[in-house]
């Protein structure tokens, strides 16, 4: 099957504007601006079943229809913060298929009546930002951005903006604060960005991969898109596969393929043919899934993964084998979240601090079973009390790790 999002895998020169245009590039944007009303674009995207690829899986067209039409100007912001451990798909898209992504930004902007769009990129994507700036300049030169697009009175500018190293800036309201030149700390919600976003104006925030799906949905139609994937999760997803597999990398698959297919067929199986132990489906924010036959044969779509008590999230699949102990895994995830907690609310700020202390004691070999129980109870107490999802994410691997891999913790505290 040919790729839809990772189209550069079939057309290696697609980052060249001429090549992109020869392959139907900007036909969708042109079609939308010159022949469709904004609301028709929104309806088509709604009908396609496209859901946000940034983690939450919210229906894209529905989000767009929430934009407050009594408050202008409107903005579109592409979320290119990509900082979830195990996630590296947006980077490949921007590096290798930049025009399809930029065309997606343009289509979203037209659909919600935005004349300016920002691409918020993690600060480490320095080279990628310079590259996108070049591509944006090429589009301006070719009159694909600017005033009077395709002979209409629609105008659009796209700007890149670099963050500076903070995972929390991937959370959409923290991202907007950061884009306004402030510390990246989440806002209280509601109001949500479609009513109160960038500079207090209605704003759509969409993930890079979500936006990159749009051009082909416009040209090929909603019905075509729905033939891919499952009823609950339409279309294709880019899975970032990492950890103890032979061939880590990005794999574009229709929703509904199993973990086994991803890990063993695409990923080549486990290094040295060792037994697999656990899967994290949504990066460091995941529940630790016990990798038994039932889990391996579970289809990767939003609804099915939920039956395992987990979430698909950004579909960043981290594979853990029998060379790894789970107390070490949660030591890593806790350190990440402790480092990235923005400090705005007490349960997350204090909770991640204490979890780090306790896990360090357990890992040092001087812990006792009461420490494991305490760690579990701190994580449990944090749940449902944090201002944003980061606090919640920090507890997922801890709680599921202790519940499902109790043996590892017994061993860790039995050392002394």
């Amino acid at each position: 099957m040919s790729h839809i999002v990772l189209r550069h895998r079939d057309l290696p020169e697609i980052s060249n504007l001429e090549v992109y245009q020869k392959n139907d590039g900007f036909a969708a944007f042109k079609q939308a601006v010159s022949r469709m009303k904004a609301v028709e674009v929104i309806d088509l995207v709604k009908a396609s079943g496209l859901r946000g690829r940034g983690g939450a899986g919210f229906p894209t067209g529905v989000k767009w229809s929430f934009m407050d039409n009594n408050n202008w100007p409107h903005y579109v912001v592409a979320n290119a913060d990509e900082s979830e451990p195990g996630t590296f798909k947006d980077r490949e898209i921007m590096e290798r298929n930049p025009f399809q992504f930029l065309e997606g930004v343009a289509i979203a902007s037209y659909a919600v009546g935005a004349n300016a769009a920002y691409i918020y990129m993690r600060g480490e994507f320095w080279q990628q930002a310079a590259f996108l700036d070049e591509k944006i300049a090429e589009m301006e030169k070719a009159s694909l951005l600017g005033e009077n697009l395709f002979g209409t009175d629609y105008a659009l500018r796209i700007y890149t903006h670099l963050g500076a190293g903070a995972y929390i800036c991937g959370e959409e309201t923290a991202l907007l604060e950061s884009l306004e030149g402030k510390r990246g700390q989440p806002r209280l919600r509601p109001p949500f960005p479609p009513s109160y976003g960038l500079y207090g104006k209605p704003t759509v925030v969409n993930n890079v991969e979500t936006l990159t799906n749009l051009p082909l949905i416009i040209t090929r139609g909603a019905d075509w898109y729905k033939t891919l994937g499952t009823i609950d999760s339409a279309g294709v997803k880019v899975f970032s596969l990492s950890g103890r597999v032979k061939n880590p990398g990005n794999y574009e698959l229709p929703f509904g393929r199993t973990f086994r297919q991803l890990i063993y067929e695409q990923g080549g199986g486990i290094i040295d043919e060792r037994p697999i132990r656990a899967i994290m489906a949504a990066g460091a924010s995941s529940t630790l899934i016990v990798a038994d036959d039932k889990a391996l044969d579970t289809p990767m779509d939003y609804a099915s993964v939920r039956t395992l008590g987990a979430d698909l999230g950004s579909a960043s699949v981290i594979v853990i084998d029998d060379t790894v102990s789970i107390d070490w895994v949660i030591d890593k995830t806790i350190h990440f979240f402790k480092h990235e907690s923005c400090g705005k609310c007490t349960p997350c700020r204090e909770g991640t601090y204490w979890m780090q202390h306790i896990v360090e004691r357990i890992r040092s070999g001087s812990g006792v079973q009461a420490d494991v129980d305490l760690l579990y109870s701190v994580a449990k107490q944090m749940q449902n009390k944090c201002l944003c999802a980061l606090g919640e994410f920090s507890t997922m691997a801890v709680v599921s790790g202790i519940e499902s891999f109790d043996k590892d913790f017994k061993k860790a505290v039995g050392k002394k």
Partner: protein, 166 residues
């Protein structure tokens, strides 16, 4: 010479990205500019940036503290930031960091005697399929180095040393 005079073209380009009444948005790219040119952001630069975008020096200092890519103190000319987050660590990143530091005779977080290289452990850099990997933050911005070995890294550092002597 002030920041706005010294880097007039770049400052102008940065300010043009945001609505004129939303100049505060420019604080992030201006901080990147100073970080890149000076290797860190000192109080004087914070004052200049604050004045350019119409916020207080304290506001700017808070941002420098909040974001990991801005540094308020000088370190090695090149910051070699090794990812040791979970996916990379599953592919040997911790050992890579330890061996690299040993080869350089420094501790993680330390700087080589010639002041060229500071090695720091960092969180995921969106390159998890190409571990061990690091980024180099320095006067030319940020560059990724992926699928690295200690030998290849030492060669890279030697090349940077020669470059620095020129």
């Amino acid at each position: 010479m002030s920041l706005a005079e010294k880097h007039a073209a770049e400052v102008k380009k940065i300010l043009a990205k945001y609505p004129p009444e939303q100049k505060q948005s420019a604080v992030m790219p201006l901080l990147h500019l100073v970080q890149r040119k000076n290797g860190h952001v000192d109080r004087h630069a914070m004052q200049e940036i604050a004045a350019l975008v119409g916020i207080t020096e304290t506001d700017v200092a808070e941002l420098v503290g909040f974001y990991t890519l801005y540094h308020d103190a000088p370190a090695g000319k090149l910051r070699l930031q090794v990812c040791v987050d979970l996916p990379c660590a599953l592919r040997g990143a911790d050992q890579f960091l330890a061996q690299l530091c040993e080869s350089l005779g420094i501790e993680p977080g330390g700087t080589t005697a010639d002041g060229l290289i500071t090695v720091e452990p960092v969180m995921c850099l969106a390159a998890c399929d190409r571990a061990p990997m690091f980024q180099v933050q320095g006067p030319d911005g940020i560059a990724y180095h992926e699928n690295m070995t200690v030998d290849k890294t030492m060669e890279l550092i030697e090349a940077k040393r020669k470059e620095a002597k020129k």
